[in-house]
């Protein structure tokens, strides 16, 4: 064994000539020494071996230098090591060049590394589920729906599916929030209710204990709970003896039966616990409450297409049996991962594309830099070739240099990427991404960075290598350092490519910037300044709790009004129910549409600044016995076009399951953009709290005269006085709620702008570099022109004309490319088309001005060429 290691070391370290001559003998001698002195003899060999390797290589090379024309036998390792040493020396001699190259590359690679870590975790890594490729999301959606997402279905439909469908094992879930008590401060936990054995279908084994089963969902089964790893760790440390212990959630003691492994947070993070559902027979048959998200595990040997076909049959049957509920719906079966990631993926892919462009531009720039350098080294390479170095040898030498730069850039890029990822993760939006808890610079990311660096190295190294490798020696020797027409052309191509890529990136960034500025100018429909919001969920909703707290908060100094609402404005659609006009019932076979409703106290409208359009606002007289509702303009537009809705009676919910018996519309108020600033206002019904008082949690909105945050201590005191065990969550200014609505757009806009700026700088540097080089190379020609009487402006024009040509070509190509590419990001845009002419013109202008300014400096340098010096230098 030890002898074999020695043998391998010899092969690795010794130059082939020495190896061939002596390795056998050395191994034999070493074998006897090892027998005599023991295996530690290997360590004794090492210093001598290293000295030998270094010395024999040195003499090998000097020999070669003396006899370059005889092609020596050399193994690949030999020449590679030689190339490597040579590259290190060459780069070390030009530290500025190396620094610039490595730093620009590190920026490009760093951006890629960071964004790839996000993309990898969110889009590419398998879910923390067993055999995740066989898991699908099953969702009942309107026939018109186009996006994949996890939709919700009713218990009636869900249990029908579960009974009928053979191609999948189905389970459902719905989120549940419960207040934890008995562990310090009361705390709101986020969990999942398992319907039909969710954890069994997910097929993930618990860390210890057991998972929830179907039996736990029986009506008379004991109340049990499975904890997430994080919650277990936080509450109990590493104590595994908690199985069988009780934990109090929402006032109900539950027995802990298991803990899931770290990282398992399905169906989404955060998820603190899983509890079995407890649906009675009546609720199991309910068909108008849509809250169950369904997943399925494909049966062995079944494909997703088969499952989809089966669900189509099921959908047709349900439509026939329950036309009222299932008319106009279809059932989608999609890979679970696509459903989870959903809408995020386009945003991320656009960013990934952007950083890839930045890297391409970086590569083109470096290619140019190396090409320029290589041109000035033409004489050196010509000499080598004249002395017998083959074209491939020269090419390899140059490629080695670029690979060394690439790897250095990659190593530094990793550090840049790490810092950059930290910044990206600091943004709230990133952490709101699905599966964001899995984002990390892991082995896959490292591998990605390494591969990207290597590809980049080959990419920017191959052009100069090819150019120089084929350069005819004689011409190069004569021309000295002036470039050939070919390499000038290559440099031009690279710069044009850079400009074109920059143009595409700028166009993309410009479009998102424009749509973002339009988005920010959208009126959200609320006056969000000086409004404090927070959410309270009392354990038992005493009917007096909300009115009493509101009364006391209103009495605070600096508070002008206060109200509660079920879902804050601009933060989502909230809950919905079927909207039914009593004065114009739908035909029996047509299903009503669900519309959003918000339960509010009468002051809500004044507090958040929603205007009254017609009729009256809600007031204290609207009670359960004499209900009244207010609707927004969007609902009027949809249900009462051209009519006066005031006084028209309506009810919400299914005929046999109404939120209230019936109520007249007493007022119309202005719209709020609850679905996000980029979406149209949703039709919304406002129901007084007095009509629906048993709501488990409410958000408060409090308008203040001063800084809203200053009243928070008093608010906490008021809530504690009424119920010391109630948690207060999500304390925020309404301004922040509104701003959070555009946060994803701001996020991608900011990132894209940063990348585009980087691209612009690099492209400008590219133009500058090429033209500066052009001037240096053509010094003699310029000198002759000046000597023959060319005016400075004519000389300037000479250089600028070249720059203009490059910029124009880049703009045309880039414009065409941008037209093709920006189409892909259409769903990220708001208010502008992907081919918005204004944006394109502006972007082209920016690039043209930047490009021409970049050519000005070299042009001015050209006018300062002194003909006498320029000609004498030759």
């Amino acid at each position: 064994m030890i002898v074999r290691i020695y043998r391998a070391l010899l092969r690795l370290l010794l130059p082939s000539r020495f190896h061939d001559a002596f390795a056998d003998d050395m191994t034999a001698v070493f074998a006897e020494l090892a027998r005599e002195r023991g295996p530690l003899a290997l360590f004794g060999e090492l210093p001598g071996l290293v000295r030998l390797a270094v010395r024999s290589r040195r003499s090998d090379r000097t020999m070669r230098a003396h006899a370059v024309t005889t092609r020596l036998e050399e193994n690949v390792f030999d020449s590679f090591a030689q190339d490597l040493r040579f590259a290190a020396r060459t780069l070390g001699r030009a530290p500025m060049f190396t620094l610039v190259a490595v730093v620009t590359l590190a920026l490009g690679i760093g951006a890629n590394t960071a964004i790839f870590s996000v993309v990898d975790a969110v889009l590419l890594s398998p879910l923390h589920l067993s055999d995740p490729d066989r898991l699908v999301a099953v969702s009942e959606v309107p026939k018109s729906a186009t996006t994949i997402s996890i939709g919700s279905t009713s218990p009636g439909s869900f249990f029908d599916w579960k009974d009928q469908v053979k191609s999948m094992q189905l389970a459902g879930y719905t989120p549940v929030n419960r207040v934890l008590t008995g562990h310090g401060e009361p705390e709101q936990l986020i969990g999942t209710t398992s319907i039909g054995g969710l954890l069994q279908v997910a097929a993930v084994r618990p860390l210890f204990g057991r998972v929830l089963t179907l039996d736990d969902e029986a009506a008379d089964a004991p109340q049990v709970i499975v904890l997430s790893f994080d919650l277990w760790h936080r509450l109990y440390g590493d104590d595994r003896r908690i199985l069988g212990q009780s934990i109090n959630l929402g006032g109900v003691p539950r027995t802990i039966v298991g803990v899931m492994p770290a990282g398992f947070t399905f169906p989404g993070a955060p998820n603190d616990f899983w509890v079995p559902s407890r649906l009675d027979a009546k609720f199991r048959a309910n068909r108008d409450q849509y809250f169950i998200a369904a997943i399925g595990r494909l049966a062995p040997g079944t494909t997703i297409e088969r499952a989809q076909a089966e669900m189509q049959v099921e959908s047709a049957r349900l439509t026939r049996d329950w036309p009222m509920y299932n008319q106009g719906t279809r059932i989608d079966v999609a890979p679970l991962r696509d459903a989870i990631v959903g809408a995020t993926s386009q945003r991320l892919w656009v960013l990934m594309g952007a950083v890839a462009f930045v890297l391409l531009i970086t590569c083109a720039n470096l290619g140019n830099l190396l090409l320029a350098r290589a041109t000035t080294r033409r004489r050196e390479f010509a000499v080598r070739r004249a002395l017998g170095a083959g074209a491939s040898r020269v090419t390899r030498q140059l490629l080695t240099e670029s690979l060394v730069i690439a790897l250095l850039g990659g190593a530094m890029g990793l550090a840049v990427g790490k810092a950059f990822l930290k910044l990206v993760l600091a943004a709230q939006v990133t952490t709101n991404l699905p599966r964001s808890d899995e984002i990390a610079l892991d082995g896959r990311v490292l591998l990605f960075t390494l591969i990207v660096s290597l590809i980049a190295g080959v990419f920017f190294g191959v052009v100069p290598a090819w150019q120089l490798g084929r350069a005819p020696a004689a011409g190069a020797l004569r021309d000295g350092d002036r470039g050939s027409g070919g390499s000038q052309f290559a440099r031009g191509v690279l710069v044009v490519a850079e400009l074109a890529l920059a143009m595409i990136l700028l166009a993309g960034a410009g479009l998102t910037l424009r749509s973002f500025s339009l988005l920010e100018r959208v009126n959200p429909g609320v006056r969000s300044d000086h409004v404090l919001t927070f959410t309270v969920s009392p354990r038992s909703a005493a009917p007096t709790f909300f009115p009493t707290t509101l009364e006391r908060i209103r009495a605070l100094r600096g508070v002008t009004s206060a109200a509660v609402v079920t879902t804050l404005p601009i933060s989502g659609r909230g809950i919905g129910a079927w909207f039914n006009r009593i004065d114009r019932p739908l035909p029996d076979n047509v299903q009503p549409t669900g519309e959003a409703y918000r339960v509010v106290t009468p002051d809500y409208f004044a507090t958040v600044g929603i205007r009254l359009v017609s009729g009256r606002l809600l007031n204290g007289d609207d009670r359960k016995e004499a209900p009244a509702i207010v609707v927004n303009e969007a609902l009027v537009k949809k249900y009462y076009p051209g009519e006066n809705p005031i006084g028209k009676p309506v009810y919400l919910g299914a005929p046999d399951n109404r939120l209230f018996q019936q109520a007249p519309i007493v007022g119309v108020v202005s719209d709020t953009r609850d679905l996000g600033l980029g979406s149209d206002p949703a039709p919304t019904v406002y129901i007084p709290l007095a009509v629906m008082p048993t709501w488990p949690f409410f958000s408060y909105v409090v308008r203040t005269t001063g800084d809203p945050a200053t009243i928070m201590p008093d608010v906490r005191r008021i809530v504690r006085e009424l119920d010391p065990a109630v948690p207060i969550r999500n304390v925020e200014a309404l301004d922040d709620v509104v701003s959070a609505a555009v946060a994803p757009a701001r996020w991608s806009t900011t990132l894209l702008s940063v990348f585009a700026a980087l691209a612009l700088v690099m492209a400008v540097l590219g133009v500058f570099g090429v033209l500066s080089f052009l001037v240096t190379q053509r010094r003699r020609e310029i000198g002759i022109r000046v000597a023959l009487g060319a005016s400075p402006s004519a000389v300037r024009a000479l250089v600028v004309r070249r720059g203009l040509g490059l910029v124009a070509a880049g703009l045309i190509l880039g414009g065409a490319g941008a037209l093709a590419v920006t189409r892909l990001m259409s769903t990220l845009l708001f208010g502008v088309t992907p081919t918005d002419p204004t944006t394109f013109t502006l972007v082209a202008l920016v690039l043209a001005v930047a490009g021409l300014s970049a050519s000005y400096l070299p042009a001015r340098a050209a006018t300062t060429v002194d003909p006498i010096i320029a000609l004498r230098a030759e």
Binding site: F18, D25, L49
Partner: protein, 118 residues
């Protein structure tokens, strides 16, 4: 050849090279035997390894101070072993080195740094 690799200019000889030459003065030896002989004669003071030995062997061969034997001596049946013999040039070099050391020792003795020869 650059000067630094040449043994001629490398005077004085390194202890290892000198010891290897000494081992070959009265016998043709193979590599392992050289290491053993040197270790024995110097009481373990000069301990060669395979690597240091062959680094020296290579240079000695290049300089023509030793040569490889074409036939192995009778009684050795290990075909891997190569035997080395001192050339006249090598003998001269070893002698030169020994005389140089003797001259040095004489000088030291004249200064009574070390005791007189018996």
């Amino acid at each position: 050849m650059p000067a630094r690799d040449s043994l001629e200019s490398a005077s004085p000889l390194s202890a290892q090279v000198f010891q290897i030459l000494l081992s070959l003065v009265d016998d043709d030896l193979h590599g392992y035997a050289i290491i053993q002989d040197v270790a024995q004669r110097t009481g373990g003071e000069v301990r060669l390894t395979a690597s240091t030995l062959y680094a020296a062997v290579k240079r000695l061969l290049d300089n023509g101070w030793i040569e490889e034997l074409r036939e192995r001596p009778k009684g050795d049946d290990d075909p891997r072993r190569r035997y080395y013999r001192l050339t006249p040039k090598g003998r001269q070099a070893a002698r030169g080195e020994a005389l140089r050391i003797e001259r040095l020792a004489g000088m030291a003795r004249a200064k009574q740094l070390i005791g007189a020869k018996r």
